[in-house]
């Protein structure tokens, strides 16, 4: 073997390979494969009985649930070993730190809730396929990779794993035009943005000579930033902005959210956003920390646009999934404010808010999901939600709670989250942005209240919805309700946890 190769072997040896950081993802992968295969080998079929029809159930959903639960356990295990075992692994391809672990938890929680909610749904809408659960798990695995990624390549492949999975999930109800149309739009725009993201990576690579986040930070720490680097940063912003749906890169999300099966929409609104934001924040808070003065103005504008457009556009929506899509755009704006604050406080607020946001959004989608009937999802606020409060008091109460939480009314998680973000913004002197945030959230009150108004104050004009709440979904909703209230009334520990998790973010090698 030639000496040069020897040299390369040393230069590119794998440093610190270990199972611990990738364990959750590994578990998910494992169970994902199992979910796909077991049924085939056991029963030779991967389609479970639809709602109302008899037939031996398939195992995939339960395997998926177990897998997610185990993965969550693993995350907990990671959290315990964080102190000693923190740091980069696999030559820095992944980094195990509080930030990543916290968000892994959020992602898996979102996945878990999605699964709980989706089982009844997918039977009702006849997409009760093993592949469905397989894809959810794989996408979740991709998210975990993104969350922990310490290298642009890892981020990229993780992102793709997640995205491709979600593209397919979006179009999973392929017998429905909207589902497919959603998939098409998501895919075209997704691939398009991938192109830019990739080119951004290329430029950054060119400027910094490496894909390693830490390495890049060291390389670019010496100002002034080269124009190539700036162009790269710009394109990376674009890539992330697309994934988390910031204006003007948001246009796909309303259509996709509306078209996708409700549980998938929820999954997108929470999991995908979390993963996207995780990478976004990690890259900008740590790697491009030194360039803050360059990227903050841009993000400032994006945040302002996002909050305004998201909230304003949501006002006239009647389809609740679409409304929630715009609302999640708006919330992306709020989260961005936390990033703009560019402080540990901001990052902590960001973590806390993501947790709160995941709970309340999942909850809201949970209600949307159980509202559905065979063949229709009943998503019209004015028609389907009118007066349900008096037929399904608990369901309506839960929905109202989530709506108020999304509005930011105490004592809910949403309020404390907003409080934290506002604190960070004000503390960093971004008072105008803070004011814009609260003003837009007043606008948001209008459309969130519309749901409550419809549920409690309008009388139903259609035949009553025969929505029975599957046990699993009930559990999911219960978790969401308890979470939203818990985080709202006793936020202490959570805020602490978020704070603690932050400390490690900047602790990249």
């Amino acid at each position: 073997m030639s000496p040069e190769l020897q040299e390369l072997l040393v230069a590119y040896r794998v440093v610190r390979p270990a199972l611990l950081p990738v364990l959750p993802a590994a578990v998910l992968t494992l169970f994902g494969l199992l979910a796909l295969l077991v049924d085939v080998f056991e029963l030779g079929r991967t389609r479970g009985p639809a709602e109302g029809e008899q037939g031996t159930p398939i195992m995939a959903p339960y395997l998926a649930l177990i897998g997610t639960a185990l993965a969550l356990g693993c995350v907990g295990w990671q959290a315990l070993h964080l102190a000693g075992a923190g740091g980069p692994y696999f030559s820095g391809m992944v980094v195990l730190d509080g930030f990543g672990v916290f968000l892994s938890g959020v992602v898996l929680a979102a996945t878990f809730l999605t699964l709980l909610l989706t089982i009844g749904y997918s039977r009702r809408h006849d997409i009760h396929l093993a592949e469905y659960y397989h894809l959810i798990l794989m996408a979740a695995a991709g998210m975990l990779v993104m969350v922990l990624a310490g290298n642009l390549i890892t981020i990229f492949v993780g992102l793709e794993l997640m995205s491709v999975g979600v593209y397919v999930l979006t179009g999973f109800r392929r017998t429905r035009l909207r589902s497919v149309e959603g998939a098409l739009k998501y895919f075209v725009l997704g691939a398009f943005s991938t192109g830019f993201f990739l080119y951004g990576i290329a430029l950054v690579y060119g400027a910094a000579g490496t894909f390693d986040l830490a390495g890049i930070r060291d390389a670019v720490s010496v100002p002034p930033a080269s124009p190539v680097l700036l162009a790269g940063v710009a394109l990376l912003i674009v890539g992330f902005a697309f994934k988390v749906a910031l204006v003007p890169f948001h246009m796909w999300s309303p259509d996709v959210y509306e078209g996708a099966p409700a549980p998938v929409t929820g999954f997108m609104a929470t999991g995908v956003k979390t993963a996207g934001f995780a990478a976004f924040v990690r890259v900008f808070m740590s790697t491009f920390d030194g360039l803050a003065d360059q990227w903050i103005p841009v993000l400032w504008v994006l945040a302002a646009l996002t909050m305004v457009v998201g909230n304003i556009a949501a006002i006239r929506q009647d389809d609740i999934k679409r409304m929630l899509a715009y609302s999640s755009i708006a919330h992306a704006g709020y989260l961005l404010v936390a990033l703009i604050a560019h402080s540990d406080m901001g990052t902590a607020a960001f973590l806390y808010y993501l947790a709160a946001y995941t709970l309340m959004t999942m909850g809201a989608f949970g209600v949307v999901i159980v509202m559905g009937e065979k063949g229709t999802e009943n998503t019209s606020i004015e028609r389907d939600y009118a007066g349900i409060a008096w037929r399904h008091p608990l369901l309506a109460a839960a929905m109202a709670l989530f709506m108020f939480s999304l509005t930011g009314i105490p004592p809910t998680a949403g309020f404390v989250g907003k409080f934290a973000i506002l604190s960070a913004a004000v503390a960093s002197g971004h008072v105008p942005l803070a004011v814009l945030l609260v003003l837009t959230s007043v606008i948001s009150a209008y459309y969130y209240l519309k749901v409550v108004v419809s549920m409690y104050m309008w009388s139903s004009s259609r035949e009553p919805i025969r929505s029975h709440v599957p046990a699993m979904a009930a559990i999911a909703l219960l978790i969401a309700v308890v979470g939203v209230l818990g985080l709202g009334i006793f936020p202490g520990e959570w805020v602490e946890m978020a704070r603690a998790s932050v400390v490690a973010v900047t602790g990249l090698p």
Binding site: E7, A11, V157, V168, G209, T210
Partner: protein, 171 residues
């Protein structure tokens, strides 16, 4: 003018022309074929950059696999004929061109034209031919870039499953 230079110019011009034809020609089949040509040109450019292995992959995977897939779908849906709707005169075309110009201008301003690497990689000393060789790439892929490699594998699996799920006929 060295051979490399000639090769570059020829390949570059052809690549640009073909890609232009890809996005302009009315007939998808034609587009596919132009795209194949473009890929070949890129493979050639890789060769001029001494990464023969990638050139090979480019030809095999892209021209060989992906393009066939495209062609297959085109035929399957028999879109082989010009599509009435697909005139490249969208009202947005003008905007698109302006923006495109702006984009190129920006990248130019970023100094791509006269880019000089400001950093040296870990393999700086290694001669290009070795760097582009299969062994070298394999070395990196199976050690440092081992994890993303695994993830890519999963990605392909997911894509496979997804394609099956989506394209499968109704039962």
């Amino acid at each position: 003018m060295t051979g490399v230079a000639i090769a570059f110019w020829v390949l570059a011009v052809v690549a640009v022309l073909c890609s232009l034809l890809v996005v302009t020609s009315r007939n998808p089949v034609a587009s596919v074929l132009y795209l194949v040509v473009t890929f070949f040109c890129l493979a050639g450019l890789f060769v001029t950059l001494h990464s023969h292995f990638l050139a090979a992959i480019q030809v095999i995977v892209y021209a060989g696999a992906i393009m066939v897939l495209f062609l297959f779908v085109v035929m399957l849906l028999n879109l082989g004929t010009p599509q009435w709707f697909d005139v490249a005169t969208t009202p947005l075309t003008a905007v698109a061109l302006v923006l495109g110009v702006g984009f190129v201008a920006a990248l130019a301003a970023a100094g791509l034209g006269d880019f000089e690497p400001s950093v040296v990689g870990p393999a700086a000393g290694v001669p290009p031919d070795v760097l582009g060789s299969t062994e070298a790439i394999a070395t990196a892929l199976y050690s440092a870039y081992y994890l993303p490699f695994l993830v890519t594998a999963l990605l392909l699996l997911v894509a496979m499953v997804g394609a099956v799920v989506l394209a499968r006929r109704e039962r």
